[in-house]
């Protein structure tokens, strides 16, 4: 197991390297001359040249990249153009809020998805099973912004059951207030992953229940509950295979949810940065998200290998 972990972690390094190259690269493909933008119209050529050399933009690309990377590793992610503050604390604070939302959404997605999948698998011909199957199919296609809008209008605005926006109430702080404010955004973000989890769990459970060893378990005189427990255990590898991707989808999709619900997370920050073309923030935001995603995938893969030892030698 330790050998697997080492190999997996080792493998992360080139990936992160590639990620940093891409993040750096996306900024460089932006059309237009950033120096001209910063210097303003009517600036003289010599002024622009001075600015360019001061920003280090006259060096060769690989050197610029090296500069950027070393700064980033030291923790310096530049200064936000729009906020006139260091980028890193800005991004990290926002990321913490996103993490809370993502966690909440993951829990909801698991509860919803596993329940739907289980019912769909255990009562495939009954009405409950078919409804659950249908719900998973619909959930998978639901665009986050559409659902967010529907929820806001019908569950918040019209009925007042939930707050329309924000992370905390005016007076509120504390867990209850957070959970209440976070419910609609988290549920919105959780729908698609819930649908995917539901489908995979259903397929995996049906698969396992048809396998030989289920009959073997019953032939040993085990109760249906015990047999089901072992069956579910055997669906975990399939679930974990998809889990990493789903978290990735969650992390990425928060942009829309946070924007519509005004949740002060990384997604909202990115949205605002796009409008203001605040490149350092966009870069830092995407970089941190990618980092988190990679780490989460390592965790998921490790859990997978822990449960299913066949994976360790692959």
């Amino acid at each position: 197991m330790t050998r697997f972990l080492l190999r997996r972690l080792l493998f992360v390094v080139p990936v992160l390297f590639g990620v940093s190259v891409i993040v750096f690269g996306t900024v460089k493909i932006i059309p237009g001359d950033p120096v001209a933008l910063l210097a303003g119209p009517g600036a003289s050529e010599s002024a622009k040249d001075a600015l360019r050399s001061r920003l280090g933009l006259d060096r060769a690309l690989p050197i610029q990249y090296g500069h950027w990377l070393t700064s980033a590793l030291r923790g310096d992610l530049g200064t936000s153009i729009a906020h006139q503050q260091p980028t890193r604390p800005l991004v990290v604070d926002a990321f913490d809020n996103t993490l809370i939302l993502t966690l909440y959404a993951t829990v909801l997605a698991l509860v919803l998805g596993l329940t739907l999948g289980a019912v769909a698998a255990l009562r495939p011909r009954g009405i409950a099973g078919r409804i659950c199957s249908g719900i998973t199919s619909i959930a998978v296609s639901a665009p986050q912004y559409s659902i967010a809008l529907i929820f806001i209008i019908y569950l918040a605005l019209r009925t007042g059951w939930f707050p329309v926006s924000g992370m905390h109430g005016v007076n509120g702080s504390g867990l209850g207030d957070l959970l209440w404010h976070g419910f609609l955004p988290a549920l919105t973000a959780a729908l698609v992953p819930a649908g995917v989890i539901g489908r995979i769990f259903r397929a995996a459970l049906l698969d396992v229940l048809g396998m030989d060893f289920v009959e073997a378990l019953r032939s040993r005189g085990f109760s249906d509950r015990r047999v089901l427990l072992h069956a579910v255990h055997n669906t975990l590898p399939s679930l974990l295979t998809m889990a990493g991707l789903q978290v990735g989808y969650l992390l990425g999709g928060v942009v829309f949810v946070e924007t519509i619900f005004n949740w002060p997370g990384l997604g909202l920050l990115l949205f605002q940065s796009i409008s203001s073309r605040d490149l350092p923030v966009i870069q830092a935001g995407v970089l941190i998200s990618a980092l988190a995603f990679v780490l989460i995938n390592v965790l998921v893969d490790s859990a997978h290998a822990l449960i299913d030892s066949r994976v360790r030698t692959a």
Binding site: S219, H233, D308, R310
Partner: protein, 325 residues
């Protein structure tokens, strides 16, 4: 009183009859081989004894474990019988083991669920002993191994260990050698015989391989299209079959010395479950069939001490020739 008694067992899946009236008995310490091709209903018989089928299946007839009527037993008590008083060695050893858990934990589970051992420590010790009993040279290593880390033969032994863990009175083995190499097959069969001797179990073994029947000895019941067409001791039946199907089976076996081109194959194919018509199920393929064979299904009648066959034609011929049973 026999360890296992089966009376007029009938199993139907919806309108399809897979087993159409099978009766036999196995005494403690005795071996019974159910011999037949795939589709003959032999595996279904084995599973019906343990009531492993779901609600869509209808089972008629009577199955007795000693004097306990299994067919009328409520589910909860049936679960206490399964794995404890009747063990099953399923067909595919790889499929019978949970791929994610160690062999040891699966063994320990059986012991603890049935209350044979209560503490984990005792159960582990017992599991190691069981693995040794089935001929595994390194029980400690195998206990900690997952199924995919073991060879096919080891896996089969582990599955057997699980089946006999609670020292059942009856052991049912469904095609236990099919998934194994030929060299390992003989060893596993020897294991069965030894375990039977040690634990005094009644052994019911289902197979399509005549060689396996030969190796095991004991009694044999030849099945075709959901019924027994011939029963008797393995030695007698294989030496002098009293049913054309049994004869056909034996004829189609390759024997060293006889060139392949001379192998005789039974023409046609066995009827699928539910396909059998009015007369003898084997009649369409039988070289000795006459008109009456197609009219009514012949019953399994005694043709000698401990022997029965369901072919009046062969019986008549042999009796006329003065052949003793």
């Amino acid at each position: 009183m026999n360890a296992l008694t089966v009376e007029e067992l009938q199993t139907s899946f919806g309108s399809i009859e897979a087993v159409r009236g099978v009766s036999f008995a196995v005494a403690a310490g005795e071996t019974m081989v159910l011999l037949g091709e795939s589709g003959s209903g032999k595996s279904v018989t084995a599973r019906s004894i343990l009531r492993l089928y779901g609600r869509g299946t209808r089972i008629d007839g009577r199955v007795r474990l000693g004097d306990l009527d299994l067919t009328a037993l409520p589910d909860k008590q049936m679960r206490a019988v399964r794995g404890r008083r009747v063990g099953l060695v399923p067909q595919d050893p790889t499929g019978a083991l949970d791929p994610l858990r160690s062999v040891g934990s699966q063994l320990v589970e059986v012991l603890r669920v049935h209350g044979v051992e209560t503490s984990k420590l005792d159960a582990r010790r017992r599991a190691r002993d069981l693995l040794g009993l089935v001929g595994i040279p390194d029980p400690v290593r195998v206990m900690a191994s997952r199924p995919h880390q073991l060879s096919g033969g080891m896996r089969q032994r582990a599955v057997i260990a699980i089946a006999i863990a609670c020292e059942p009175e009856v052991l049912i083995a469904d095609e236990p050698t099919t998934a194994l190499d030929v060299t390992v097959q003989a060893a596993v069969l020897d294991l069965f015989l030894e375990l039977q001797r040690r634990l005094g179990m009644a052994l019911l073994l289902v197979t399509h391989d005549v060689g396996v029947a030969e190796e095991l000895g004991g009694r044999v019941g030849v099945m075709y299209a959901g019924r027994l067409v011939e029963t008797g001791s393995v030695r007698d039946v294989l030496a002098a079959p009293r049913h054309p199907y049994t004869q056909g089976l034996l004829d189609s076996l390759p024997t060293p010395g006889i060139p392949r081109s001379e192998l005789r194959v039974i023409p046609g194919r066995p009827p699928l479950a539910g396909e059998a018509g009015a007369g003898c199920a084997f009649a369409p393929r039988c070289p000795q069939a006459v008109t009456s064979c197609h009219a009514s299904e012949p019953a399994l009648v005694a043709v000698g001490p401990g022997r029965a066959a369901a072919c009046p034609i062969v019986n008549k011929t042999l009796t006329a020739q003065g052949v003793p049973a």
